[in-house]
């Protein structure tokens, strides 16, 4: 591997810690009305796993690795694409009532 960043030890822990706080903060003040779309939205976000599977597949050296890598990319792509479509369809439908806007 030819990486110019190393994310080991404490650096990795910092990343995990800050990311965990970020996730918590985003969800903490969300109205229940958005729980389902947000669950679906976060489901979409971990579809980024497809990128890791791409790395594994492109670096595969044997047939077994190729098969598993193929399955990994397939599943990851499904997660990302499906998560996006479903979330977008749900959120598309949220709109305020136009006639009440004056009252705030």
């Amino acid at each position: 591997m030819d990486l110019n960043t190393t994310l080991t030890g404490f650096v990795a822990l910092y990343i995990f810690m800050l990311a965990a706080f970020t996730g918590y903060e985003i969800i903490a003040r969300v109205p229940a009305i958005l729980h389902t779309p947000l669950m679906s939205g976060s489901n979409f976000v971990h579809g980024i796993v497809v990128v890791g599977a791409m790395f594994a597949l492109l670096n595969a050296t044997s047939t077994v690795e190729q098969v598993i890598g193929f399955v990994g990319v397939l599943l990851g792509a499904g997660n990302a694409a499906g998560g996006y479509v479903v979330t977008e369809r749900m959120l598309e439908m949220f709109k305020p009532s136009s006639k009440r806007e004056g009252g705030k």
Partner: protein, 477 residues
């Protein structure tokens, strides 16, 4: 030689991580939610396209296979995307929860696959910390995969049985220990060079554990379980991100891991249950246990009578449930509501946190029918208003309005917060027949003095109600 592609990859991942977090943030308010998913989508697109640049930096051993690998990658990516896009566009709003479960399981499977490739990499020297995280990610990802598949099958009505036997938790526990032991062997004894058979046994054990863990959980608890597996997949992705030294996976995975955990706790709280209670107890299918007989009888009413009473009421609160969506009656309901609003009636929708099949599911279903979200109120915001309401109408809901949750300690839903519809002056319940709710519990609300039952398919009932109000207006002129 590969500094430049790597730089582009790193920069893309940085922007993807930013776009994910910013997108999720926008998704957390109804006003900006729509743009949030688009923002996150751009991040995903950027990261995925950039990942093709790995082509220029593969290990020497992989170079002879590079052509095949690239073709495989393109095929897998297209197949997965096209299938998921097609199925996601096609699925009905009512079936959304199981679709989320399915896509989530796929993500868990992908994380497990990354770990599997890592264990098979015989040329690499494996260090202990990445190996431990790879094993943990593999276990969590596999459980998420097989567990989500079971959750999907249950919600989709493909599996109806809750599968229980004595000593079940003991067997599950033993299997979990075996899984961890195999994982520990891979890390500490084989140092990442375990024989293929053993690696396979490890994954199979984890997958079976996911199945066994999910099978006994009743359908009513599935939302919490799906949310939990969503958090699981996030964690697994984060751990595998460490293994691959990929910051995009680490950040996105951990953000989802913690957000998903919090969401799971919020859902469980809304049902007044702890997460461990959901997983280890037998709620949801225990309804056929001893039930006290309820005195009194259910009093039927005509849809038209109920409609006319609502037309002349000052305040009407609607408590919709999953039955409304099953009957596809949301649109008719909103048409009826618009008639009431035009006649000067104050109408509000009261949404129980677990109405539908997931928290917020009912909001989505109502939004689909065009109901503006400022007419929709959460349980805690509206529960005190029921006693001022002239009419409360329950459509296709049951357990979420059952007063037994407040009073009857022997009831399996005791302690769950409910909508106080029984406090309204008059309650109408629109229901197909005299059956029990999803949890199998008899509902004493239906027998109360101020309750009348409107039997029939929700959509037909709504049509009858619309006609009743319309003919009234017509007759007045």
């Amino acid at each position: 030689m590969s500094v430049q592609p790597q730089f582009i990859i790193d920069a893309s991942y940085l922007s993807a991580a930013f776009l994910f977090i910013y997108g999720l943030k926008r998704m957390s308010s109804p006003v900006t939610a729509r743009s949030g998913i688009v923002v996150a989508g751009v991040g995903m697109l950027v990261a995925t396209l950039a990942s093709f640049l790995y082509y220029f930096g593969v290990s020497e051993a992989a170079e002879p296979h590079l052509g095949t690998n690239l073709v495989l990658a393109v095929v897998a990516l297209s197949l997965g995307t096209v299938w998921a896009w097609w199925s996601g566009k096609r699925v009905a709003m009512t079936a959304m929860p199981q679709m989320v479960a399915l896509y989530n399981g796929m993500g868990g499977g992908a994380a497990a696959a990354i770990a599997a490739v890592e264990f098979l990499r015989t040329d690499a020297v494996h260090e202990t910390v990445p190996l431990v995280l790879a094993v943990l990610g593999a276990v969590i990802g596999s459980i998420s995969l097989s567990g989500s598949l079971i959750a999907w099958a249950k919600l989709d009505g493909r599996i109806n049985k809750t599968w229980r036997y004595s000593g079940q938790q003991l067997i599950n526990g033993a299997l979990f220990v075996v899984t961890l032991a195999l994982g520990a062997y891979i890390v500490f004894v084989a140092h990442g060079h375990a024989p293929v058979g053993l690696v396979a046994a490890f994954f199979i054990a984890a997958l079976i554990f996911g199945v066994l863990m999910t099978m006994p959980i009743g359908g009513a608890d599935m939302p919490v379980v799906i949310s939990l597996y969503n958090a699981f997949t996030g964690l697994a992705v984060g751990f595998e991100g460490y293994v691959l030294q990929n910051p995009a996976l680490m950040i996105a995975g951990m953000v989802v891991g913690s957000a998903g955990t919090l969401l799971t706790l919020l859902m469980a709280k809304a049902m007044n249950r702890s997460v461990s209670n959901v997983i280890f107890s037998n709620f949801g299918a225990s309804g056929d246990e001893a039930q006290g007989e309820i005195k009194g009888s259910q009093k039927p009413a005509e849809a038209s009578d109920a409609a006319i009473q609502m037309r002349y009421a000052n305040k009407v609160i609607i408590a919709p449930g999953y039955g409304l969506a099953v009957a596809q009656a949301q649109h008719k309901l909103y048409e009826f509501v618009k008639l009431l609003v035009d006649a000067g009636v104050e109408v509000k929708f009261a949404i129980h946190p677990v109405a539908g099949r997931m928290p917020g599911h009912m909001n989505v279903l109502l939004a689909e029918a065009g109901v503006p979200y400022d007419m929709i109120f959460d349980l805690e915001d509206i529960n005190d208003e029921f006693k001022e309401a002239d009419v409360a109408i329950v459509i296709g809901a049951n357990d979420t309005v059952n007063p037994a949750a407040r009073t009857n300690k022997s009831s399996p839903i005791y302690g769950m917060p409910i909508l106080n519809v029984d406090q309204a002056k008059q309650v109408y319940v629109v229901k197909r027949g005299q059956g029990k709710g999803y949890s199998g519990v008899e509902n004493e609300l239906f027998f109360a003095d101020n309750t009348n039952m409107v039997y029939g398919d929700a959509q037909k009932v709504m049509v009858a109600m619309i006609q009743a109000v319309k003919s009234l207006e017509g007759g007045a002129h």
